[in-house]
Subunit: 126 residues, 2 copies
Amino acid sequence: MKPIGHVRHDHSEVPRHWTISELEGELRIDETYLEALCDVEPGARIVVLFEFHQSPPFDPAEHQRQTPPHKDHPRGLFSICSPLRPNPIGLSVVEVLRVDGSTLTVRGIDMLDGTPILDIKPHVER
Amino acid sequence: MKPIGHVRHDHSEVPRHWTISELEGELRIDETYLEALCDVEPGARIVVLFEFHQSPPFDPAEHQRQTPPHKDHPRGLFSICSPLRPNPIGLSVVEVLRVDGSTLTVRGIDMLDGTPILDIKPHVER
């Protein structure tokens, strides 16, 4: 796995989840991938896969159930969006506001500044 | 990245995308993660992140635009679901039919038999 770019913003805190975020920020994608971005347009919702780069290592003895910040009891890890996972991959759905070269300005940020981006996919519903 | 389990099924072909799949198959998760599955229940829709383990290496000179099998013109890679990506991570949303220990029987399979599973997340909409 190799980052295709990074998340950049000036917010000192981010919401716990993209579903409750109106924060704007940038996805600065490597210019290498400029052509692969050619059909990403303002107004689109996109899926961003990224690395939870500040998470400690996953410990199966400790982290299989975790209590989310807005809940009062532990839940099985595969039913919650905790950053502490066997493979530290995060997923957020954001709205594209602007496209400038290989930088996307988006709304719905819940990633930390500096987060490595692994992939961008179209947001598809059944 | 280390698989948490593998996809298993007997279908010789799979649909090109989970949105058009009614195929059933199993997600055989390592027993190590049994407790992390405790809140995954039949009827739930889950997001499965997996490795496109049979894709050739991504070549920026060749693969930035690709023509999906059901289209007649090339599209930018980050707007399509091709398995040929800088980081070969796939995403499918499937419906859980049964839970037997650490094996989930699901509907909506579009992954090849033997596909390494990287993560399971709840399917969340805004």
